[in-house]
Structures are given as C-alpha cells and as structure tokens.
C-alpha cells in the first residue's frame, strides 16, 4: 500500500455511476479524497475532458455543495453545464493571472471541507506541487481535478489517477439524423494500486452508459481504427 492512501470501504462511499471503470480503482470504488489528473492535447479533447468532469461534478455536487474552478485562461462556458445536470451558479470561477496564483488558490480551495470538488486548469504539475495537493486532499476529503491542457509537458506526480478523454462519434439511434449523446473514449493511463484500462462511455443526459460495439474492453485503442465505430 502507498503511503497516505487509506482504502475506502464500500459502505461509506456511494458509487459514482461510472460502472465498469470503478472496478479499476482499488476496492472497486472511485477515490473521492484524491487528485485526479486529466491530460489533453487539443481543444477538442480538452472540451471532452471538461464534459466528462462536468458529468462527474453532477454526481459530486448532488448534496448541494459548491465547486471551485480555477484557471488562467478559462474557456468553459457555464451555460453548457446544464446538459450535464450541473447548476453552473454553484460553481465559483477563479480566473487568476498566473500559474502561481492558480496553484495557491487550488491548495487553499482544497482545504475547504464544504466544497464538493476543485477543478484546476494547469500547464504543468511537478512532483512537489502534486504532493502538497495530495496531502491537503487527504486532510479535507475534497476531490481535486487537475486539467492539464498541455499534455506534452509530462512530469511524474503523485496524482491518484491519470485520465485521458477523447471524443468518439456521437451515438444516435439507427437512421436518425444529426448528433446524438456525446461519447468518449475514457482511458485510465495510470491508477495507483489499480488496473489501468480503456472504456467507451456515453453520457445519456442524466447518467453514464457504457456502450458496447464488438468488444467490451479494449486496451490501447489505436487512433486510426476509430472510424470503424
């Protein structure tokens, strides 16, 4: 077991509605007192990450708690979060000028026990910085999401999980025109004491659904094959 990681028992925390993905985490539970890192390379992918986090927030904020979204150059459009069942007026945006301020605000926000989650858009996250955030989170129990929009700057850090969300062609019913529910390729690149994997998920307006094409679980989904879907 890693230092500082306390296993959650299944009774004390509810499921987050991620289905199969939750089984990848230790004890089969999505860790709430943890730092989750989301990496993306292009704006399309970061929009997918935003959407995925929005969907997670809808479950984390169910009890009425607020959320803090820290960034330097925010593009998230609050009016879009209604599609993910999130009341955007319960999100407090803090648009700081420098990365240093973002880190400071993130740490301070993670200390707030009354918050459901803290989302922080950062360029990079070093080992020491991530360690500080992880220690804060263990104290307060707030879920931390680090959105790294520049995935090229990879540095090792102590985040519990590293996710990569990429968009997939949307799912609409047979023969129907237009766009359907958003679908994503959800990849868990790294999970501490868990098993990484890759899943295809669909947000069906109020819940996650795993959709199945031919195979249920595909590890290392190659980029070129995606148009088969």
């Amino acid at each position: 077991m890693w230092q500082g990681v306390k296993p959650q028992s299944a009774a004390e925390s509810e499921r987050i509605g991620l289905g199969e993905i939750e089984a990848a985490f230790p004890n089969g539970i999505f860790p709430r007192k943890a730092i989750h890192e989301f990496v993306s390379t292009s704006p399309e992918h970061s929009a997918a990450s935003d959407g995925f986090i929005g969907a997670l927030l809808s479950i984390l904020m169910e009890n009425g708690a607020a959320c803090v979204w820290v960034s330097t150059s925010r593009r998230l459009f609050p009016a879009s979060l209604g599609a993910f069942n999130v009341e955007a007026d319960r999100i407090i945006f803090m648009d700081a000028a420098s990365e240093k301020d973002v880190l400071w605000i993130t740490e301070e926000a993670l200390k707030c026990e009354g918050l459901a989650a803290v989302v922080s858009e950062l360029g990079s996250l070093s080992l020491i910085e991530s360690r500080r955030l992880q220690l804060t989170v263990e104290q307060s129990g707030v879920t931390g999401f680090i959105l790294r929009k520049d995935a090229n700057k990879t540095a090792s850090n102590v985040a519990t999980a590293r996710w990569q969300i990429t968009p997939l062609p949307s799912g609409n019913e047979e023969g129907m025109p237009g766009l359907g529910f958003p679908r994503w390729q959800v990849e868990l690149l790294k999970v501490r004491s868990g098993s990484p994997g890759s899943w295809m998920m669909q947000w069906s307006g109020d819940r996650f659904e795993e959709f199945v094409l031919e195979q249920k679980k595909i590890i290392a989904w190659p980029d070129e094959d995606r148009k088969v879907v």
């Binding site: 935003d50 708690a65 803090m94 918050l115």
Partner: protein
C-alpha cells in the same frame, strides 16, 4: 442629551504660525499679501501691525506707507485652511467631531456633547484648550454654547463670559451685533442702514418680514444661531467606531512581532464587535514607523465576520506588504465598515454544504485578499439568446438565479472568446457545411444539426444574425460553427468556429 458646541477662533492664525517659524518676528509688524487683480492685498496682519492701523483687505502699498518698517511676506492660497485642519486633527483629542469653520476660515467648531465631563466640567475644559493652544503659541478665543452659531457669535463678539449655560444662548445673543449671525456683507449693510445694531432689535420680528428684506439665507443663519434649525458640521475626520491602538515599548521589526500585535488587537476588536453583534466588513491596519512614515494595509470580507482566526489569516497574507524599516512604534487597527452579523443557528447534525458554507466564504475572503476580488466570478443565467450575453456575472454570493439554466438548446462546453474564421464548403441556402478548414486542418463533417438562428440584439449593436450548426467530424470531435448573415450574390458569406462540444 443637550448638544454642546465649542467654537475656537484663532485671532491671528497666520501671524502666530509665522512667529513660531521665525521667532525673530515676534512683536514686529508684518503682513501677508496675495496678488489680486494686479495689486497686492493684505491677507493677514500681525498684532503689532494691527495696532498701527493696518487691516486685512488693504493694499500692500498703502500698508507700507502707513508703517515704514513693515515686513511684507508672501501668502499662499489655502495655507490657512491647511494649517487649521492640522490643528483640527490635533483637537480630536478633545472631541470626536471637529469641523473647519467654513464661513470665515479662521476657526474650528467642535461638537463636544458628552465630552466636557472628562476634563472635570466645561470651565476646566475651556481652560485646558486655551492654555494648551497658548503654550503652543496660538492666541485663541473660545466659547461654549448650545448651537454652533451661538458659540461662533460669542467667541468673536461676546464680552461677558465664554461659557453660555444650557438654554441661555438666546439671552447671550441679544446684545451682540448682527455680524455675529454670519450674514453676507450686503445683508449686513442693509441691517446697519436700517439701524439694527443689536440682534435683539430684530430677533422677534415676524419671519415673513425678515425674509422679504434680507432673504432666506439670513433667516437660516438666525435660526441656526437660535437653535430652531439644525446646523450640520462636516468633520475633518470621520470617527471610526471600532478601532484599537497598540503602542509598542520597543519599535517592532520582525514578522513574528507584527503577527503578535495584529492578533492582540484583533482579539480586543472582535470582543468589542461580538458584544455589539457586529461583524467586520473591512479592516485597516495602520503602522506608524519610527521615521515618521505611515503604512497601511487593508482587508475586506465578503460577509460580516468577527472570528479572530479568520481575520488574522487575512491580515497574515498582507504582512509581506508592511516594510517595518527601522521599526514600528504604533499600530492602529480600525474597522471602517461593520455590518450586523448573522448568527446561524447551531445545528446538531451536519448540514448540507452549499454556497453559504462558512469555509467557502473564508476561502473567498482569502483569495480576494491575496489575488484580488476581481478574479472571483460566479454566473447566473440571463434571459438572452446571444451566446456571449446569455450569462450574467452574479453580484454577490447570495444572488440566486432567477430562472433555470437552459438545457433545450445545445451550447458548447468550451466557448471561444472571439470566434475564429474558418473556410467552409456548404450547400446553399442553409445546409450544414460539408467540410471546414480550421487551423490549416481539413475536417470532414459526418453529422450535423442546425441551423439555430440567433438574432443580434439590434438595440445594442449592429450586424448580422448568426446561423449556428452543431457539426461532428470524422474523428468524432464536435464543433459549433456559424454563418454570419444570409447568403448573397455580392458579399462573401463568412463562417466562424465558436466553440467545442464535449
């Protein structure tokens, strides 16, 4: 409680001040002059020059002719005012409300209601002010009365006693000349012409008669002196109700010592606030340095708060801005803005957290203290379709959205602040694009929804409407693209990319 006022009249303010600076001038005739319409006019006269018959308003040349050895000094506009407000600030030791005498600019008015007993009575109080000012070198005349007007009159024209007892001010005014009512020069000339040499001769005349001859202004002055009309003093310094002082035995330089000082003052201040059910909204810490420099840092809170630990944390973020130099000898902590504090009912079970969660409010205070209040934003839906204006910034953390967030119209997860022009191939009149080129990359549109026409708010800005399409390319990436305006034969239609869907 009966209001009591003191009027302090500096008989030769500038002359006294000049003698303080240049003691060799003491007893010599000298005047201050200012240029006015191409000649030099006397603005202040020393007692020796006054005896020789030199008056204020005389020409400098005439004055020199009367008194050959006269020293003529240059005056500066606003000097008397500056000097008076300096003395006024010193006078705050006697009463919290000290105002400049705005009529003649040669005195001060003090609201001393409830102050005199601290000096052992009004007589001792007057004596103390006079002797202290005299020891500094200023010759003053004082009077205490029930109204500022009466005090002003008695200080300048009273002959019997400067101490007018409660309710006696009307009697005291009776025998004074009409100048004592602070009238304008024209009114004064009229009064003299009509033979009014004492206030009592017209004091009891019907108001309508007085108004017809001397105007509304004169009646107001009379009423203010008699006390039937209220006179508002504008204090030099507004008294701060909640403040704490901490003088240091030894000048303080270290961070730890400053922290101890802040904590000590906060404890006293918060106790005071708590007793009155008030909470601090803004706080100012002023540090008086050994070398005479004054530094101040301020904090603000989003809601009334009297918790020592929270306020201390806010000040802690500001300590870096204090440069102690050689040392700080006096700390003053003031709370210029306080609000009634809402005491939440203690709940037995942990309540559901929300926007009014205490830890969140404290976080907001800390962030606005360190980074600035402008970085904190919260949005509520607006009843408008234009995407950039469909959200409003909430004015406060307590503002509730008036309506639900819209979910029937698709809006992109990420919205670009400025739409980016893209090249598009589309069928006319209103088909979605077949493909578009964004940042040099060609995206083949596989699925599309739309158009959703959003009209521009013509009462705000001019321009074309937008036809929005939701498109998905072959990789599954989703975009929000719009065409600006209609197709036309002459003009080139323009397409823009405005956002990314999740």
């Amino acid at each position: 409680m009966q209001k009591r006022y003191v009027s302090i009249w500096f008989r030769q303010l500038l002359a006294d001040w000049q003698v303080l600076r240049r003691p060799e001038l003491s007893g010599l005739p000298f005047v201050f002059v200012l240029p006015d319409h191409g000649r030099m006019l006397v603005t202040a006269v020393s007692p020796a020059a006054l005896e020789m018959g030199i008056e204020i308003g005389m020409r400098a040349a005439d004055a020199k002719a009367i008194c050959p050895g006269l020293e003529v000094l240059d005056d500066k506009p606003g000097r008397a005012e500056k000097l008076l407000s300096g003395i006024g600030e010193w006078c705050i030791r006697y009463a919290p409300i000290v105002a400049l005498d705005s009529f003649s600019l040669d005195g001060l008015l003090l609201d001393i209601s409830g102050c005199a007993h601290l000096w052992g009575g009004e007589r001792e109080y007057l004596k103390d002010i006079v002797s202290r000012l005299k020891s500094k070198g200023y010759v003053v005349r004082l009077a205490i009365a029930d109204t500022p007007g009466a005090a002003w009159a008695v200080a300048r024209f009273g002959k019997l006693t400067p101490l007018i007892k409660e309710g006696e001010h009307i009697n005291a005014l009776q025998t004074l000349p009409p100048e004592a009512l602070r009238p304008e020069q024209i009114t004064l000339d009229k009064l003299r012409k009509l033979g009014f040499y004492q206030i009592r001769s017209f004091m009891n005349m019907p108001r309508s008669v007085l108004r017809r001859r001397f105007g509304e202004d004169f009646l107001l002055r009379l009423a203010q002196a008699l006390g039937t009309e209220n006179e508002v003093l504008s204090p030099i310094k507004l008294p701060v109700l909640f403040s704490e002082r901490l003088p240091c035995l030894e000048p303080v330089r270290t961070r730890k010592a400053i922290e101890i000082a802040i904590e000590k003052m906060l404890m006293a201040l918060c106790k005071q606030l708590q007793a009155e059910g008030k909470g601090l909204r803004s706080g100012v810490l002023t540090c008086y340095r050994l070398d005479g420099q004054v530094l101040s840092v301020s904090i603000g809170t989003s809601g009334a708060n009297h918790s020592v630990s929270h306020l201390f944390k806010l000040f802690q973020l500001k300590i870096d801005q204090i440069r102690p130099g050689l040392g700080i000898e006096l700390f003053v902590l003031e709370a210029p803005k306080v609000d009634p504090v809402e005491v939440p009912q203690e709940e037995m079970w942990t309540s559901t957290p929300g926007l009014d969660d205490k830890s969140l409010l404290q976080l907001i205070d800390r962030v606005s203290g360190k980074v600035g209040p402008e970085v904190i934003r919260r949005y509520v839906p607006a009843t408008r379709y234009w995407p950039e204006r469909s959200i409003n910034r909430a004015r406060s953390i307590r503002e509730k959205p008036i309506e639900q967030w819209n979910i029937d119209r698709p809006r992109p997860t990420e919205l670009l602040q400025h739409p980016v022009a893209v090249e598009v191939m589309a069928l006319i009149p209103d088909h979605p694009p077949r493909f578009f080129i964004y940042q040099g990359q060609r995206h083949l549109v596989v699925k599309a929804d739309g158009p959703e026409r959003i009209e521009r708010e013509w009462w705000l800005d001019e321009g074309e409407h937008r036809d929005y399409y939701q498109v998905e390319d072959e990789k599954g990436c989703r975009y929000w693209i719009y065409r600006s305006g209609h197709y036309g034969l002459q003009k080139r239609h323009r397409w823009f990319l405005h956002g990314f869907f999740a």
